[in-house]
Every structure is written in structure tokens, then in C-alpha cells.
Amino acid sequence: MKKNFIKFYLGLFAIAGVAFSCQDLDEKPEGFVNPGNFYATIAQGEAALTGSMEALWNAWGPGYSYGYGNFIQDDQLLDGDLNIGNGFGGDLWSQHYLAINNINGVLRGIKKGSLAGVDEAELAQLAGQAHYLRAYNYFALVRLFGDLPLITEDTPDPVVTPIKTRTPVADVYALIESDFLFAIDNLPTSWGGEPGKPTKGAAQALLAKAYLTMATAPLNKTENYAKARDMAKALMDAGTYSLVPKVGDVFMPENKFGPENIWSFVSTSDDVTTDPQIWTPEIMDGWGDASIDVLWAENWLDKRPDEPRQDAYLILEYDGTPWEEFTEQRPFIRKYVMPYITDDQYNNLQSTSITPIIRYADVVLIYAEAENMAAGGPTPAAYDALNSIRRRAYDLPLNVANVTVDLALGLSKEAFDKAVIEERDFELCLEYDRWFDIIRKRLLNELATKYHPENIGNVTDDDYLYPIPDFDAKILGSQNPGYTTEN
């Protein structure tokens, strides 16, 4: 009996051991952040905004985006045919919204007071950046996709409460305007060691561009021309930014962050999406992935003989070989390669060139366009603005009239407007800007006739908007016209 007694207690201990060592089933993650314990410091807020820029870089990164992808259908790039197909550009939509989700997190954190107690001025700058970035994201989305699901820090969690309607374009612009205005009031004029961050000037410039866009298609609210003009003028008068005098210097590394470049996408040298060979012809040991439509280039070359800007922005010859004799028999894009990066960088497949989002030349042209349209005809100020760009293209003094280069006097409002758009086509070529001009000025038919007659039946007004990704369109219950949502 005693034996059994011992056995009994041995068993008891064993089982008791189980009872006391039961593991807790609640998860207490280590090394893991969730929205509940984030957004507690300025640095964490900044990190979320930084994350939002990384998302945009995925969709806009040079080379893979302009060269192959989301903007290839304009008239400037080879293989573009002005015709937007089903499913095109969907990652712009998703990456912008990914960015907005991160930005709204910061704004929600600020509103909830999770940053209470930090320096007011720092908090205002953080909020300023958040509003600025959100406005920029919606500005890109509303132009590309039209009516949008509008999500702000006050919107109930869309994962739990799905959004099934699209906010009209005009209302999206209302948010863009108020966000940019907030940013103008709260952003600094410069950031010191972090020149890639948005400034007050960038907010002014982009708001001017937003007003100008509101004045044109699809809203056509022409009262915004004056607002665009005034906003551009305010920035020009402030004197923070200016045109780089020589056109060949605009993209030089020392000018990456001013005085002309206001806000750009930047990348590190080892970023795989920026291999500069994407932009260059075989004769330069390049891969020739992204190059220029020959007809578009010939148009420019014919219209402006011997313009130094062409050589500054395009690869028209290499080592004495003209583009006609390249293996590819077409010109290439210089803005992102030598001399704007070093030979060493090039040979190591590296690039630290920037991709401008807004630069001062753009602001000057916004001013010229808005001033002309608001005043009902080209004023001397409008002429001065436009001519400063034309003179710079020839490396001439910006403020000295030059009959050969300056635009002919006495143009009608329409003719001047056309001249501005053409100047934008050349000056801002291959900077992601052309497609937005095409859609706000409704140029598709004209350009199809000129460059893609084989495609005339296929290019329609439906191509002024990109399609919404299928699944999102299904949830929203609407797709942009001309696109089918199917498998």
C-alpha cells in the first residue's frame, strides 16, 4: 500500500506541474508597433510621413515608372499611344492611398492629443507637412482618376465601414485647397539638413498649380485663374526661388535643392529602380528602355533650331555620333544622366538624380498662363514670364528682350495660351508633367492626329481618366467611363 501511496504523489506532482505552468494565450508582442502605441513623438509622426513618401516612390520612381509604366501613354515617350487601357496605372491609385493612410494616422494622432505636450512650433510643422502631403496625394489622384473615395482623419475606419461612394472632383479640390493653405501657414521656408522635405514655397507652388488645374478641365472654374496667378505671384515676389541662369545647370547636382527645384522625388544611389542605363542608348552602353518618340522630338527640333535647351534635356548625340546614327535611331533623355550624374555613378549603375515634382520654371509658366487667362489676353507680365523661360533656353539673360527668341507680340489670348502649353511641353518634358497638361487642356484628339494617326479610332475622351482598379471599382459601385471591370 505504501508503494501506491508514493506513486500517487508522484503522479500528483506531475499533474500539478502542468497546472501551474499553463501558458498565457494573450499576445504581448515584442519588437512590434501598432497604431495604439505609435504617433507619440514628433519623430514617430515624421517617420509615418517618411513612410508615405516611400510608398509614392514605389509608384513614381523614375525609370520603371516613367520609362515603362504609369505615364508611358503621353506623346513624349516612345511606345506611348495616348490610349489608356483597362487596369492601367492601378499602382498609382493604391500607393497614393497607402500614403494617405499613413498621413491620416498622423493627423488622427495629433487630433487625439497623443502628441500633447510637445513643442507647439514643432507640432505645427508636423501638421503642416501632413496636410501638405495629403493635399499632394489627392491632387495627383483627382487629376488621374476623377471622383474619389475621400478619406480624412475623421473618416470612420474604411476597413470596418466600407466607403461606397465617390466624392465629386470639386469637393476633393476643396480639401486640397484647405490642406495646402494650412501647409502654407505652418511650413518653414527651408529645412536645413533635410532639403527633400516640403517647404512653404512648395505648398504655394502646388496650390497655384491646383488652382490652375481647377480653372481648366474637367472643372473649368475659370475664376481660379486669378487665384492661380496670385498664388504664383506671391511665391515669385517672395524671392525664395529663382530660375537657374544657364539651362545646362538646371539639373546639375548642386542645384538639386534650389534655387529652381522646389520639391522633388529623391533616391539613394543604390536604389535598383534608378539604374541610369534605363535612359541611355546602346552606344553609351545603355539599355535603351526609356526613350523618346521620334515625331515628338522632330517637332521640337524643327521649331527651335539650335536651342541649347535641347542638348541640356535630350541626348541628341554621343561622342560625335548623332542620334540618327544610334542603333535605336532615336534621341534619348538626358535629364537623369550625365553630366547630371558622374561617370562613376553611371558605370556603377547608380544614380542620385532627382525627379522634380514642382520647380520654379513651372511656377513661372503657371503665372504666365493664369495671368493671360485671368486678364483676358496676354499682359506684359505674362509675356515677361513666358519669355524668361524662352530666353533661358538659349542661355540668354532672363530680363533682356530678344527678338529672335521672344514670343511674337500682340497674340490673342488663345494663341498665347497655346504658346504657354507648348513651352511647358519642352521645358518640363519627361518630368511627369505632360500627361496632366494633356488632360487639363483636352489635347488628346489634336495629339492623336499629329502623332498617332493609326490610333485615332481608339483614343477617346474616356482616356482623360485612368481606370480605377477593378476591385475598388466594384466596392465603390462605379468605374470611370470607357473601362470594363471584369476578370
Binding site: 501558458q23 517618411t50 473615395p149 476597413v159 522632330e298 471584369e486 476578370n487
Partner: protein, 1063 residues
């Protein structure tokens, strides 16, 4: 609410614990009851005339407590006590007693005049009475009510691959084994009864000596005593939330009583590429490039005719030299060798076994190799008559390296990879340039931004070290007669050290001035199981009751340091201080499972069998609202062969029908997946330089309701034995339905997320399995054979309202399809089967005689003729249809063993029927302007119209042919049936010829046993598939992506010689 539930649950554990305690506590009571029951029988038999007493022992004269002694033809009987003694009152006319004990042959004893009888039982060698391992216990094979296949360790040892998982291929019905890549030390995909989960793992649970979550391929095959494959719910439900994919129980060898035995085995062999792709030599390639170039006449203001890439002089030179054979440059004949040494033996109280193994394998791809050193030791000790313990330890050191190949090496630029790229580099490119450096791809043809494949293969320094420790101990108490309590504790740990350095001769290293990482991680899984078993015979009734309380904890930790910008390329990753950029990351996760389970086995008269089990699992990885899950099962069997009306037929030595039903779960999601997450690593350089600002991004939305996938499985089975067991057959039909699938539920991307993990959807899988085995020849010349065949149909019932789910099957690096923009190859759709490929059907090319018909589609003769599925005059997305099926109709294995005197011939044929592979590699190998495949030589020309390879058509001709006619064909990506190939195959997987030297010869040499053998693996394969191997799956991580061949490491053919010595 959540807290409340938890409280309720913890109360539930307490109740169960108290139950357990009281069961143990009443041990003495049980013992007393036992005695009373025996007395009861005696009392009832009081009118009987004589008392027979005696002792039941085994072949070694050891007592067999619990053996049954029954009067033949009645239910009157008793069981032997702890000393094997029994006493039974019997009627005077009693002639015969029947004595049974699990694992021993039934013995009938004629009493005669005796009253004192000692009975010695002999172990039962027929498989029916074989005892096999089941979850948390063991059972006699003939008593099984579930579907379990047993594989013997000796069938595994000769495999050249040294992977236990792979050794299962073709051996068991319903078990599909894929070697998705031929990489040494690479993974094995095992599917028991196909697939049910879409997002979760479909890999079965591996239990090694009772420890769950083992790694099957790190085992030394020589250490395996037996493997049991648990297939139906009656067998697997005992593993609850981890049992849905089936369970493989592995028992390792242990020491046996007797003098020390030393066994030594040595094998050596070679492996080689099974087949090469047909590629053009340099001259043909250059001509093909030129011919295509001539068609690229760009429309500028005038049609510009391009200059040829290669001059005639160059081509003449290429025709002479034939150029580089890139496949020969990256593949080689590779050696493999193993050593095995084991010592075992033991006394009555202590038994031991120590075994070591060493594997050294080079891969057929340059710079790939695998080494494994393993040591396993175990000791069993009988402490007293009622307590014993055992301890085992296994240490396994693995070291492997394989250069990046195909897809999956996410941190490597896909352009720098080897297997898919080497055949795409034209034969005109030399491996080295004039200076002896690796050549760069010239511009003008092919893919100039890709990297020299030999450099990508040979230059990376990659070393992956894993040190595994498996520690396992048990303590057994016989608390009372029939009542045992077993406590087991175990730990499985794996420490990994991975080093990778890409020097400046590789693409990434070149761009980043040398780049690499150091990664260290630690994995540990602890398990404690407490098993109480009560076994009771009551006349014809036999009960076994098992109750278990168990807990498991799994911890993963690791850190990685990425470095680039090395000042000194040679020092590489071992001089992190010399790197200009360092980025670090680390992680830690923990998973906890608490479980309580019980099982009852009941049999009546050896004819009627019933098993019921129930398990409750609490798991930390699930949502706060769903921590606990419950998994019941019930099964029954009827042994018809025990019924006199069947026995009297004299045909069946065994005939049994089985039926089972049960629920199992799948909890394979990562810890913390139910919580929202903001993650680091989304940096952006506001500085404008190479220093990035730290960025965080919200990457996951919370889902507190997440719970297990649950699989309900029903199985109907029939076991048959004829001609005294010389012919056996087993047949099973099953239906498995899985609901609450753990899946990414797509979210509209404007939420900021693309998906959330949720329990959505339902799949169903129905299948048949048949195994036929037999011994057609016995005697001197023996032939043992077995054939198994199985098939299933898995389809999606529901995706939670979603119409379809796309799966990514390339990185999109120039192959032309992806999940972006709805251009996925593989979708799951409700009502459709797994593995359906979506695309356009190509029906060859348009012939000249069909020019008018072609023109209706604005196509020219020589263009691909697509099928206008909806006949609307356009080829567009409305014409997308099913172009292939990845899941085989059936798979089979045919295993044979012939033996004559000392000779032994053993071969295994395996195969699949009715499955397709999408051969992604061909898309670029056959693309004009870069393709190297000889298929391009067979392209359409006016003289060669009977081909499915399209012509090279001049762009200006095309534009001028259909001016003003809108395009009618918009095949916007490469999902075309042209790339779908029948991947059915029949393969001689393994053939071994062995000779065992006669005892006389060996004893002269002082050797107990001497055996030599030669083995060939993958000796021949019959298939129409044109890729390296039909047995691949490049996207192995999810079963929804089966059937894609994209740059997989090719399987090899190998020849091995071995020698086996025992002392």
C-alpha cells in the same frame, strides 16, 4: 466580453485538471475494483468444476501482464496480473483456452488434465498484429478504425537524396511528395490527401518520437524505425488545431536488449543534370537576332531600316566556334557521399543506441553544396517494475549553400539569377572577356541589363548553418494494473547562422560596392505532454482510455545586419566594420498552444471497434475573441473476417470495413497576425544622399475575430486480406470540407491596405485511394510487390463573396504577367478546381491559305492564331479561358522487391497523370529578339507553315497592312496556352541491386553481416514535358500556385554505390 470568455475557459481547465487529479487519485481504488471484478467472474463461475492457473510470458520468459485468457467459444475469461499470473475457474468439459496479447500471436491451449499451465507467447510477425504508433499511444494494426499507412525505416535508408520526406514518395496512397527543386538540402513538399488551405500551410504535422513540429528532412534516414501516416480525421483529430493536413508520426530507432551491435554503412555516388534544354548555337542565334532586328523598322518620317546586330563575318566565326554552352558552364557532375555508424545494445534494465551520420553532397549547380552531421543517442532505463524512463538527444549540424536561382531570393535582383538566366544568354557571348573578367551582356540584343550567370552562380559567398538539438525524455509510471501515466518533455531548438556576401563581380555587389548580410536566428519549441492511459479487458469488452494535458511554446528570434559599400571586397561579410552602410533589423515572436484531449477505444469480441476522441486547443495566435477551438472525432470498424459466415468462406484472412468522421484545424498563421501593425523599413532619403530617414508604414489592419480553419473529414475504408495475407488491398474514399479558411480577404486599396487576413471561404476535396500489395512468389525466389494509386478533386466552394482570388506566379521581370492589373495566371474561383490556369488559347499560327480569315482579326499569316472563345470577332479579355490544370488526375507508386539467395532487387516507379505545367522559362527562351531556344528555328515562314512558333513580321508591313483598322487582337500579356505543357510522367524513381554475402563468408572476415548495393535514382523518366523536370513547383509556398515552372533548380539523376557492415 473577451476577458469574460477567457475566465470561463480557465475555469474549464481547472475542471479538467481536477478530473485528471481524481483519476490518478483513485489509482488505488481502481486496483481494488480490478480485484473485485476478477472475483466477480470467479464467483459467477462458482458452479464450474475446476480452476486452472498459470503464467503468461513472452519469448524471453518475461511476464505479459494484462494478457487475456478466455475459454474458447465463450466470453468467460480473465486477465493476467502484474506477474503474468492468472487463475480461472472453468467447466469440467473445457477443452481449450485462447490466450491473446497485443503484438503476439494468438495461442490456443489444449488443457487436457492440467490445472497448472505456463504459456509462452511468440511475437506476431504478420502485419495485422503489428503494433503501430498512433497519436499519444499505440495500437494493434488490426484494431485500427482509421486510415493509417505505415512505412518501415528500412525502405528509406537507401535513398541517395538523404531526405526522409522525399523517401515517402510513391510509398503510401494519398501521399503526394514533390521535390520542388533539386537543390541539395532543399525542401520537400508533402501533401496528405491533397490540399484544402489556400493561404495556410498544407504541410502535414511532423511528430518525431512524440514531439510535434519536427523537421522531417533534417532527420538522418538511417535513424528512422518507422513512419506512420495518419490520414483520416479519426487518426488526426487527436492533434486538433494542427491536424488538418494529416500527421506523420516518426519513431526513431532505440536500443534493444542484447550484445552490442556495430553497424557501418558507406555510400558514394554521383549526380548529374537529367536533361538539357535545346538551345541554338552561336551562329543560329546570331542569325535569329539579325532576322528579328530587320523587322524592327521604326516608323519615323521615313521607314528606317535597322542595321543588323551581327556582321556576316561574325556569324561565320560563330558557325565555326559554336560559342558558349551556358548550361555546361553552370551545371556539373557532382559527388555525394555518406558515412553511417551506429552502436546499440543493452541489458535487462538499460538499453542504448548511439548513431552518427555524415552526408557530404555537392549540387549539380555550381557553388551549391550541402553537408549534414548528425548524432543521435538514446537510453531506456527500467527503474523499478512500475517506473521507467528514457532520454534521447539528437544533434544535427547542417551547412548548405546555393547561389540564387529562379525566384524566391527576394533580396537579390531577379536579373542576377542563374538557372533561368543561363540558357537565356546567347551562345555568342563568351563567359569571360579579353581581359579575363566576366563578360557583360552586350547591348543590341537579349537582355543587356542582366548579369553574367556564371558570375551570379559562382561568385556569391553563401553559407547557411543550422544547428539543431532535439531533446526528449519520458517518464512512465504503471500506477495500477492497466493504468499508466506518462510524462514527456521535449525541446526542439534550431540555431541558424546565415552569411551572404555578393562581391563586386555580382550585379548587386557591383552596384553597391559589395553587399551582404549576417543573419542569426534562434528557434525553440518546447512541449510537455502528460498522458494517462487506462487499458481494460472485461471479457469480450476491451477499453482503452487516454487523457492528455499538453502545452507547447514556440519562440522565434532573430536579427539581420545588411551591409554594403565595402572598402575591401575580399574581406567581405566578415569585416562589417569595413562597410559604409549598415542596416539592421530584428524580430521576436512567440506562439503558445494549451491543449486538453481524451480518447476512448472500445472493441467487442475483436469484431466491433469504436474510437472517439475530443481535443480542446487554445492558441495564442488567434483573435482575442476566438482563442479556443474544439475538435471531436468518432470512428467505427467491423471486422467481418471474425464473423463465422465470412470465416467459413475460407477466402478472407482479413476483411474490415471502417468509417470515420471528425474535425481538425489549421492554425498556420503567424503570431500577431490578428493585431494591427506599423512596421519599420519604409525609409526615404529626405537628406538627398544615401542616408535615409527612418520611415514606418501601417501594413496591417486588426482582426480580433480571427480563428482556425476547420476541416471536417469523413472517410469510408475497406481492408482486405486474401490467401493467408499473400494478397492485401486497402481502399479509402474521403470527403474533406474546410471552412473558415485563413485567407487574405482583398480590401479596396483606398483603405491603405490591399488585404486583411480573415476566415473566409470554403473548399472541398474528395478523393479515392487504393493500395494493393502481395507476395506473388514465396520460397527461394521471392517477390514482394505493392501498388498504390490515388486521386482527388479539390475545388473552391466559396471565397467569402469574392468572385476570384489571383495568385502571383512571377516577379514580372519581363515575363509579362503578374497579379497587377488582373493578369494573374492562377485564380481561385468558387465552383472551380485548384490549379486552373487562365489565359488565351493559341491554336498554332495562321497559314497563308487562311490569310482572309486572319485579316478579320487584323492579323497576318504567321501570327499566332488565338481562339475567339466568344466568337465576337475580337481577341480580348473576354476570350480568357481555362488553359491548363495543375492538379494531377491521379498519382501512383509501384514498389517491387525481388530476392533470391543473397540478391535483392528493389525498384520504385512513381508517376502522375493529367497535370499541366506552365513553362514560364519558355516565354523568354522563345521570344524574338532575345530567345535562344531552337524552337525559333522552327518559326513560321512561307515554307514552314505547320508550326506554332510565330513568324518574325516586319513592323512597317504590319502597320501598312491594316491602315485605319483598329486592332482586333489585344492579348496584353503572356498567359497563352502555348506555354502550357502536359507534365504527366512515369519515372523509375529508384532502383537498387544489393547482394548480401553468405554468413559463412562473412564470419570468416569477423563480420556479422556484409551487404553491398548499387542504386540509381531518376534513371529514366517518360514525359512530354520539355523543361528540366516535370516534378517541379516553383511557387511552393502556397498550393494555389501549383503548376508553374520558373527557374527551379533542376532535379538530378544519380548513381550510388554502398556497403553495409555489421559486427
Amino acid at each position: 466580453m473577451n476577458k469574460h470568455l477567457l475566465k470561463k475557459n480557465s475555469r474549464a481547465y481547472c475542471c479538467m485538471l481536477i478530473c485528471l487529479l481524481s483519476v490518478t487519485g483513485s489509482a488505488t481504488t481502481v486496483l481494488a475494483t480490478e480485484a473485485r471484478l476478477v472475483n466477480h467472474v470467479s464467483a459467477k463461475a462458482a458452479r464450474f468444476d475446476k480452476v486452472i492457473s498459470g503464467r503468461v510470458v513472452d519469448e524471453n520468459n518475461q511476464a505479459l501482464p494484462g494478457s487475456n485468457v478466455v475459454i474458447k467459444g465463450t466470453t468467460v475469461g480473465t486477465t493476467a496480473d502484474a506477474d503474468g499470473k492468472f487463475s480461472l475457474s472453468v467447466p469440467d468439459d473445457t477443452q481449450t483456452l485462447v490466450v491473446t496479447y497485443i503484438g503476439y500471436a494468438v495461442q490456443e491451449i489444449t488443457i487436457g488434465n492440467r490445472t497448472e499451465i505456463n504459456i509462452s507467447l511468440q511475437p506476431d510477425l504478420s502485419t495485422l498484429n503489428e503494433v503501430i504508433v498512433v497519436g499519444y499511444g499505440e495500437q494493434r494494426k488490426s484494431d485500427l478504425t482509421g486510415s493509417i499507412t505505415s512505412v518501415k525505416g528500412e525502405d528509406l535508408a537507401q535513398l541517395p537524396t538523404q531526405k526522409v520526406g522525399e523517401a515517402l514518395q510513391g510509398r503510401a496512397a494519398g501521399v503526394m511528395v514533390l521535390s520542388p527543386s533539386g537543390q541539395p538540402g532543399g525542401p520537400t513538399t508533402i501533401r496528405i490527401r491533397g490540399m484544402n488551405s489556400i493561404n495556410g500551410s498544407n504541410q502535414p504535422l511532423i511528430v518525431i518520437d512524440g514531439l510535434q513540429g519536427g523537421d522531417i528532412n533534417s532527420l538522418n534516414p538511417n535513424d528512422v524505425e518507422s513512419m506512420e501516416i495518419l490520414k483520416d480525421a479519426s487518426a488526426t483529430a487527436i492533434y486538433g488545431s494542427q491536424g488538418a493536413n494529416g500527421v506523420i508520426l516518426i519513431t526513431t530507432k532505440r536500443g534493444k536488449k542484447g550484445a552490442p551491435t556495430i553497424n557501418y554503412t558507406y555510400t558514394v555516388g554521383v549526380q548529374q543534370l537529367r536533361k538539357k534544354l535545346d538551345l541554338m548555337d552561336a551562329g543560329d542565334f546570331a542569325r535569329s537576332i539579325n532576322d528579328n532586328k530587320a523587322t524592327l523598322n521604326q516608323p519615323g518620317s521615313d521607314v528606317i531600316v535597322p542595321t543588323p546586330v551581327f556582321t556576316d563575318a561574325q556569324i561565320a566565326q560563330y558557325d565555326k566556334s559554336k560559342g558558349t554552352d551556358w548550361q555546361n558552364e553552370i551545371y556539373r557532375t557532382a559527388p555525394i557521399q555518406t558515412h553511417q555508424l551506429s552502436i546499440s545494445g543493452g541489458s535487462d534494465n538499460v538499453q542504448y543506441l548511439v548513431s552518427t551520420g555524415y552526408l557530404n553532397q555537392k549540387g549539380i549547380l555550381i557553388n551549391s553544396a550541402f553537408q549534414r552531421f548528425s548524432l543521435r543517442a538514446n537510453v531506456n532505463v527500467d527503474i523499478t517494475k512500475w517506473a521507467k524512463f528514457g532520454v534521447s538527444w539528437a544533434g544535427i549540424k547542417e551547412k548548405g549553400n546555393t547561389p540564387p536561382f529562379g525566384e524566391g531570393a527576394s533580396d537579390i535582383d531577379p536579373l542576377g539569377q542563374v538557372v533561368s538566366l543561363a540558357p537565356r544568354w546567347g551562345a555568342v557571348i563568351p563567359v569571360y572577356d579579353e581581359l579575363g573578367n566576366y563578360s557583360r551582356h552586350p547591348s543590341g540584343f537579349g537582355e543587356p541589363n542582366s548579369w553574367n550567370p556564371v558570375a551570379s552562380g559562382r561568385e556569391p559567398f553563401i553559407e547557411n548553418n543550422t544547428m539543431r538539438n532535439n531533446l526528449n525524455l519520458y517518464l512512465d509510471f504503471k500506477i495500477a494494473k492497466g493504468l499508466t501515466f506518462r510524462v514527456t518533455g521535449g525541446a526542439v531548438t534550431a540555431n541558424r547562422d546565415n552569411y551572404r556576401y555578393l562581391n563586386q563581380k555580382t550585379l548587386d555587389g557591383f552596384k553597391k560596392s559589395g553587399t551582404g548580410y549576417v543573419n542569426a536566428s534562434e528557434y525553440a519549441r518546447y512541449q510537455n505532454s502528460n498522458i494517462l492511459t487506462y487499458d481494460k479487458h472485461l471479457g469480450q469488452h476491451h477499453f482503452t482510455v487516454t487523457a492528455v494535458a499538453e502545452q507547447q511554446v514556440e519562440i522565434n528570434r532573430g536579427s539581420t545586419t545588411n551591409a554594403s559599400g565595402f572598402l575591401v571586397d575580399g574581406a567581405g561579410i566578415f569585416d562589417l566594420g569595413g562597410a559604409t552602410t549598415l542596416t539592421a533589423s530584428s524580430l521576436s515572436t512567440k506562439r503558445v498552444i494549451n491543449s486538453y484531449l481524451g480518447r476512448v477505444n472500445y472493441s467487442f469480441g475483436e469484431k466491433y471497434l469504436l474510437t472517439a476522441s475530443y481535443r480542446a486547443d487554445g492558441s495564442s495566435v488567434f483573435g482575442a475573441n476566438n482563442k479556443w477551438g474544439y475538435f471531436p472525432s468518432v470512428s467505427a470498424a467491423w471486422k467481418l473476417s471474425e464473423e463465422s459466415f465470412i470465416r467459413d468462406l475460407g477466402v478472407f484472412s482479413d476483411l474490415k470495413v471502417r468509417g470515420s468522421w471528425g474535425i481538425t484545424g489549421n492554425q498556420s498563421i503567424s503570431p500577431y497576425a490578428t493585431l494591427a501593425q506599423i512596421a519599420s523599413g519604409y525609409n526615404y532619403p529626405y537628406t538627398g544622399g544615401d542616408v535615409t530617414d527612418i520611415g514606418f508604414s501601417i501594413i496591417r489592419a486588426a482582426n480580433p475575430n480571427l480563428k482556425w480553419e476547420s476541416t471536417t473529414q469523413s472517410d469510408l475504408g475497406l481492408d482486405m486480406g486474401l490467401f493467408n495475407g499473400r494478397l492485401t488491398a486497402t481502399f479509402d474514399y474521403y470527403v474533406r470540407t474546410t471552412k473558415d479558411l485563413l485567407m487574405s480577404r482583398q480590401l479596396p486599396t483606398y483603405t491603405g491596405f490591399s488585404s486583411i487576413i480573415d476566415n473566409v471561404g470554403k473548399t472541398q476535396n474528395k478523393g479515392l485511394e487504393l493500395t494493393i500489395g502481395g507476395d506473388p512468389l514465396v520460397g527461394d525466389f521471392k517477390w514482394n510487390t505493392s501498388f498504390n494509386i490515388s486521386g482527388y478533386r479539390a475545388h473552391v466552394v466559396d471565397l467569402g463573396g469574392l468572385e476570384q482570388l489571383p495568385f502571383r506566379t512571377t516577379t514580372g521581370a519581363g515575363y509579362g504577367f503578374s497579379t497587377n492589373n488582373n493578369t494573374a495566371l492562377l485564380y481561385l474561383k468558387p465552383g472551380h478546381e485548384f490549379g486552373e490556369m487562365t489565359g488565351w488559347i493559341s491554336e498554332g499560327t495562321w497559314k497563308s491559305s487562311e490569310a482572309d480569315e486572319a485579316a478579320k482579326y487584323a492579323q497576318l499569316p504567321g501570327d499566332i492564331k488565338y481562339k475567339d472563345v466568344n466568337k465576337d470577332g475580337f481577341i480580348n479579355r473576354q476570350d480568357l479561358t481555362i488553359i491548363g490544370h495543375a492538379v494531377p488526375n491521379f498519382i501512383f507508386g509501384f514498389n517491387n522487391r525481388f530476392s533470391y539467395k543473397g540478391f535483392d532487387l528493389n525498384f520504385l516507379i512513381t508517376g502522375t497523370q493529367g497535370n499541366d505545367l506552365f513553362n514560364v522559362n519558355r516565354i523568354r527562351l522563345e521570344r524574338p529578339g532575345e530567345g535562344t531556344s531552337t524552337a525559333l528555328l522552327d518559326r513560321w515562314t512561307p515554307d514552314n507553315q505547320n508550326t506554332d512558333v510565330p513568324a518574325f513580321i516586319s513592323q512597317s508591313t504590319r502597320k501598312s497592312s491594316f491602315v485605319g483598322v483598329p486592332a482586333k487582337v489585344s492579348v496584353t500579356d503572356t498567359r497563352v496556352s502555348r506555354w502550357v505543357e502536359d507534365a504527366s510522367y512515369v519515372r523509375l524513381k529508384n532502383i537498387t541491386l544489393a547482394y548480401t554475402f553468405p554468413g559463412m563468408t562473412t564470419s570468416k572476415l569477423g563480420v556479422k553481416r556484409l551487404r553491398t548495393y548499387v542504386t540509381a535514382a531518376n534513371l529514366f523518366t517518360i514525359t512530354k514535358y520539355t523543361g528540366y523536370d516535370p516534378e517541379v513547383s516553383s511557387f511552393n509556398s502556397s498550393d494555389a500556385r501549383l503548376g508553374v515552372d520558373f527557374g527551379s533548380y533542376p532535379t538530378s539523376r544519380s548513381f550510388i554505390f554502398g556497403i553495409d557492415l555489421s559486427f
